[in-house]
């Protein structure tokens, strides 16, 4: 019970750090609000279908993804600045530190993306507002998975810290480009090789975007199998990130440095 309370304390600390970073908030809000209110609107004029309706729900997913990836930056920063040494000296297990970071990452992502979702609901009429809130727990699991990817990158870059942002940028661009965030799956099917299409459909970002589009904005009935697939995609990435980060912390505990 004490361990749980410490995990929650550490998670709260990391969670508040995300929202207290002024430049990050400025970047994320300006990026996502301008994507929603400028890019979606203007691209809509260039296309023959309602791109605004298609893209606005996806911006919520982009927000979820960006906030999740920031977990990696906070881990990287904690390693670089030596904060992690302090955390390891606290009466909390290595597993507890790892769990706190992933929990904070998932929670920060869901809070940030919910704020974007509320704005999306203001500019775009939703057919099933309550479904939106029903899928939030599943988006949280997915966000923990995405935070796991970020933690893995931070662990990979722990000995070459300066490469972290390069890894992060490449993963971000690749996952976003190969998803249905920006374009419908039919367009991807008609342009990219057929073996890539299943990977694009199973991409966590595609799953999140389709869930918000279909269940919240289109008003389609929620499919339990779809929600299950969100969990099945989120949990392995969260476990991968947890293992990678735990390995780094164990090395740090044993050797005293990386």
């Amino acid at each position: 019970m004490k361990e749980l309370s410490r995990i929650l304390q550490l998670a709260r600390n990391d969670f508040s750090y995300f929202f207290r970073t002024k430049w990050l908030m400025a970047v994320l809000l300006s990026l996502h609000l301008s994507d929603m209110l400028v890019v979606a609107l203007v691209y809509g004029k260039l296309m023959s279908f309602n791109y605004f309706r298609f893209f606005v729900p996806a911006v919520v997913v982009m927000g979820l993804f960006s906030a999740s990836l920031d977990t990696g930056r906070r881990i990287w920063l904690a390693i670089r600045e030596g904060v992690i040494q302090y955390y390891l000296s606290l009466p909390i297990s290595t597993f507890g530190v790892v769990a706190a970071y992933l929990l904070a990452g998932g929670l920060a992502s869901i809070v940030y993306s919910t704020s974007l979702l509320l704005i999306a609901l203001l500019v775009l009429p939703a057919q099933a507002v309550w479904s939106t809130f029903a899928i939030l727990p599943f988006l949280f699991v997915l966000a923990m998975g995405l935070a796991g990817i970020a933690a893995t990158l931070a662990a990979l870059a722990s000995t070459h810290g300066e490469y972290f942002f390069a890894y992060q940028q490449m993963v971000q661009v690749t996952l976003l480009a190969l998803s249905t965030v920006y374009y419908p799956i039919e367009t991807i099917r008609s342009y990219l090789p057929s073996f890539i299409v299943p990977a694009v459909a199973a991409n966590p970002l595609s799953l999140a975007a389709e869930a918000i589009r279909q269940f919240a904005f289109e008003g389609a009935p929620i499919q339990p199998s779809f929600l299950l697939s969100m969990i099945l995609m989120g949990v392995p990435f969260a476990l991968l990130g947890a293992s990678a980060y735990a390995m780094v912390l164990r090395n740090l505990r044993v050797k005293g440095k990386l």
Binding site: K22, W23, M25, A26, V27, L29, S30, L31, S34, D35, V38, V39, L41, V42, Y43, K45, L46, M47, S48, F49, Y51, Y163, A166, Q169, M170, V173, T174, L176, A177, L178, Y182, Y183, T187, I188, S190, Y191, L192
Partner: protein, 253 residues
Amino acid sequence: MRSIIRLVWFDLKHELSPPVWIIFEWAGFALQLYIYGALISQLVTTMTDYLQFYAVGFVVMMTFEIGSHTGRHFVEHAHEGRLPYLLSLPIPRWKLFLAQALQGGTELALMITLPLVVTLAVIGNFTLISVAAAVGTLFWLGFGVAGLMLGLSFIAFKSSDVYSAIVSALSTLIIRFSTVLYPFIFLPPSYASAAFFSPLTYGADLVRLFLGFDPGILLDPRYAVAALAALAVSTLGLGVFLLQRLVEGVKSG
């Protein structure tokens, strides 16, 4: 001249050994162009070849990012305490400024060479003169943007955190409210008036004009030339002034 080259190399060597950042920039460009750009151009029905339009826009965005990075780096150095060291060196301030400008120019050249070559290959229809004019415009824009970020450094005298927040948000808005991603004629009137204040609108449209795009969808090139010249001269002038008189005012730590 040797001291200027030494200063340029002092900063540049970190990025070139090994040149990871340059390779990642190029890989990012390839992904954006051949996946995102190609797929979005399948959806765009009001233009004949949106991929060409997007390719030029992306090179302009890269120029903006690199120019912005140069200007911001200078201010960050001041906060990290590296600037006082550079100021203590036995070199005049104009040399320091020139070294910063040259470093930015070299970085820009290294980063955009390959993306620009690919863009020209995608467009296909160009002459040596048009390419030289486009490259000149990109460098002029890059210097202007670096100067703009340097000019905004007065905010950093109060707080570096606020400076980073303002500059980061401003960078995003400058890109979104411009013609980098979409032609001016498709912008709603309220957004079009904001686009007039973005230097990227003029840079992107001028480069497109030189590369043979339909002038009907671009801004009047005379305005573009005037706006880019005004931006570069005024912001670089302000940068020189700041470096000569005010740079010690930036708080360290």
